[in-house]
Amino acid sequence: MKEKAFVIGQSVRRLDAVGKVIGEALYPGDIDMEDQLWMKIRMSDRVHARVTAIDTRQAEAYPGVVAVLTATDVPVNEYGLIMPDQPVLCGPGSSKAGADIVRCISDQVALVIAESEETAAVAADLIEITYEDLPAVVDVMQAIADGAPQLHAHAKNNVLNHYRIRHGDINAGWEQAEVIVEGEYHTGYQEHVYLQPEAGLGYIDDEKRVTVVVAGQHAHEDREQVAHALGLPEEQVRIVYPAIGGAFGGREDMSIQIALALAAWKLQRPVKVVWSREESIIGHHKRHPFTIRARWGATREGKLVAAEAEVYADAGAYAYTSTKVTGNAHLMVNGPYEIPNVKVDTYGVYTNNIPCGAFRGFGGPQGAFAAEGQMNKLADALGMDPVQIRALNVLEEGSITSVGTPLPPGVTLSKVLAEGAAQSDYWHKTGAGWARISPTEQPTTPAKRRGIGMAMGFKNIGFSFGAPEENWATVEIHGDAKIERVVVREAGADVGQGAHTVFAQMVADGVGVPLDKVEVIGHDTAETDNSGSSSASRMTFMAGNAIKTAAEQALEKWRSEQRPAVATYRYVPPKTTPYDPETGRANPNFAYGYMAQFVEVEVDIETGHIDVVRVVSAHDVGRAINPQQIEGQIEGAVVQALGYAIMENLVVKDGRIQNPFLSTYLIPTIWDIPRETKSVILEYADPRGPWGARGMAEMPFIPLAPAIVAALHDATGIWFDHIPLTPESVVSRLREHNIGVI
């Protein structure tokens, strides 16, 4: 009989915790092979140019250099997660037309493979690249103007994608509007700064597969992209993930994977590369900077009647996941509210800037920055409480979204809002609705002002807009009379979020065994089937559904005396659909997470420093499989979002990153983080989620910036529509209003 294992809902210790703490866990850079060579990747020196010649003679003649690879060495010289619009190596003589052009500084031009790391680095500088400069465009508005330099033949006026929403009758909406608020919102770049910069090893395994040991988020997708570029069948390529030192979306696209595979394949020897922090910051994509113009209208009672927005995202030189990121922003720029009349135009735009792509929240933070800014301005304009106006407008079960369809069953926005507000200790519900318990208490120091603000949001779980979505899991029950061991094969990447521990908990519960009987086999395309990526807050939901059924089926087989009892299950969630090109009508997603945040800040009006004192972060997680890991995600996301909102300022000038160093690109330190982050974990089951679980990893990131802005407004009376809110930018905005002026 199945014993009750009681491991779902328990904060069991992470399976990988001890190994990581004592240094036993091997990350990609820790792994060496006998006879290995070292690779240095030479990136572009220009932001837009035709490479007319690459002289590798000096580099090749340099003692210790084994090979220099260029565009002519790449069998199929193109790659890209959404579309193959980027050359693997830029240069003349390529197998693909247009691959002789570099379009940004992170384009890769040559690979130097040598006997030592130092030799490879020295020789990489000896390569002489001849460029014929092309006019560059680094500004989104200039890129879409007529006459701008064109980056890609498939994108007229550099428009990678344009989505529309035409919902209801926007003109009728404006006629009903009694109060209208407008804003032009700007959000900045953000760098992932995962602890472990890119590193890896390529080699040929015993079965002659080109094998890449690397940190990633989706091993099977990496395999597909490597195989495509090398012109090999996927079976001849293998991707192995050892311990992964963080990802946050930054490992969704290729960085070193194809280069390693190509070098190992050409040389038939192990080849290793380790990027420095600076190479990492330059060499992988960033969070998209957005410009959003929004205009919202409501009745005097606070009911939303119209919302209009223009959304522009700087995609940089290549598509990466921009079409999907902008797709998310397109939906989330309308907030989690029922608005009968909506008009939105969203553009992903190519420029010669560094490519942008996936980053925790995936377009959600930018969309929410505008939507929640609008909502807070509306509340202010109407003299309404910000919680109360949201309570009047949030999407409920069956409400129609701006894309013409209801959210999937299990809509809990109003519950998250209410419970979060109540547990924030700042708001209470009165007979007249939600209200602040007391006005914000001000510090005695005149230069310091305190304020309280809030914002909320929604975020999809899983792939959107009709993208194929699946997750495979295999559960093996070993033993004879009694179950001795349960193995789960599940490729889902444990990027540091603890996915493997959660898989083990779900298997233990599904089969009814203690956790220590469970073994997780993952991170290797030779051992597992496709799990999809560890992104979109999807892995607990997707792998959980696959594991739950695989465990049930394996248990059935065990009971019918099969030894070992093995079951494989492919979970496929309900289908989603892309935006209608004219109206935007779609069923964009199959599951959502809901959240609300309440923050208290103190701003120094003389220096512009913002101290985020306290954050209350409320989430419907469906079911907390491992509550401690959820708290970890909440606290981690709050810190990362705090950096995004007030500190992280990637300076890009003429397409070149000016501060690719952690001494000049600052992320929060222990002194900068909130003194208290209170996690409010709510468990309203998602009817489609395993054990009712929803995803939650991105959600605490999304409302923080607009909540901080609301608190700043409470403190100073001024709206801030640009992030990051660096001290200097805060001072100059306050000066415009004669606050803190000297």
Binding site: A121, S276, E278, K653, R656, N659, P660, F661, S663, D672
Partner: protein, 313 residues
């Protein structure tokens, strides 16, 4: 083997990636001061001193410097010693780590301003290695311990081919990253005299974050009762990160010496400090912001010191 090209952190408009690790160098543990002088004379720019290593190793890693020889001076007599004499003051070995310095009872009791300034440097981990001697020799305009050393009238005691030399900290800096040490000469001690009775000090650093960043502006103020001053008090004010070197601000000090100290007087001194600031624009802050912050922070530091003096008095 040629060096990979250098990386310029302040101006990476054409970014060249450095090679991995450090270039090869010889390590010499010096046991006598004259040995250091000889090695420095013999190797010139190819020799560098090693104390905490928190600056030199980064510059070597970035390919900016490639000394052939690093001379470890931590084992010379007195280099890591702190001594205090109630009559003569404090003598700090140049290689005393900042954490050792800030934890030392004499520093805590008699020179809290030095500890406050040192604690503004980087992070605790870095301060386990970093030294005040290195901070001064490095001669960064942003050196956090420099304004404190300036208002404390500290002196650099050097050893060179011609023997000992004593240089007031105010005369030690020549320009950004340049000091006045001669060929073969090195910093051995920092002498800090006994400050005037009843003194109160304050160092305020402004970075872009609450910990670890280099100063956008640093302000040190030291005030003490002085019956000879028209105001009854004297103030010394020094600034970091707003000029080619850390500077004293005599214009502001004069205002405070010559007028009765009131809120208005303090208010007048701050713009004088602002006027003395000659900052640059860089990634950390614009010149305009730096100038405005010089005024704000000077005012804050003066307020704090004046409040302390009134409490003492």
């Amino acid at each position: 083997m040629p060096m990979p090209a250098a990386l310029d952190r302040e101006n990476p408009s054409v970014l060249v990636m450095p090679g991995p690790g450090l270039p090869a160098f010889d390590y010499v543990r010096a046991s006598k001061p004259d040995e250091v002088c000889d090695l420095l004379l013999q190797h010139g720019d190819n020799a560098r001193l090693l104390m905490g290593g928190t600056d030199i190793l980064v510059l070597m890693r970035d390919g900016v410097l490639a000394p052939k020889i690093l001379i470890d001076v931590k084992h010379l007599p007195g280099m890591t010693t702190i001594s205090f004499d109630p009559a003569g003051g404090l003598r700090l070995g140049a290689a005393v780590s900042m954490n050792t310095m800030t934890a030392h009872p004499a520093v805590k009791q008699h020179y809290p301003l030095l500890a406050e300034a040192a604690q503004a440097v980087a992070s605790y981990q870095l301060r386990t290695r970093a030294t005040m001697g290195g901070n001064l020799c490095n001669a960064s305009p942003a050196a956090d311990t420099a304004p404190a050393a300036l208002v404390l009238n500290a002196r650099c005691v050097t050893w060179g081919p011609d023997g000992e030399r004593i240089i007031p900290v105010g005369a030690f800096f020549r320009g950004p990253k340049q000091n006045v040490l001669m060929p073969g000469e090195f910093l051995a001690f920092i002498d800090v005299p006994i400050p005037p009775p009843g003194w109160v000090g304050r160092y305020i650093k402004l970075g872009r974050n609450a910990g670890g960043d280099l100063a956008i502006v640093g302000v040190a103020v030291l005030g003490y009762p002085d019956a000879n001053a028209a105001s009854g008090c004297r103030f010394r004010i020094a600034l970091a990160s707003v000029a080619p070197t850390p500077i004293r601000v005599p214009e502001a000090e004069a205002i405070l010496a010559n007028m009765p100290i009131t809120g208005e007087t303090l208010e007048r001194a701050a713009p004088a400090a602002q006027a003395a600031a000659r900052p640059i624009d860089d990634l950390r802050g614009s010149a305009r912001y730096r100038k405005a912050m010089t005024r704000n922070l000077t005012r804050r530091a003066l307020d704090d010191v004046w409040a302390g003096l009134r409490k003492e008095g």
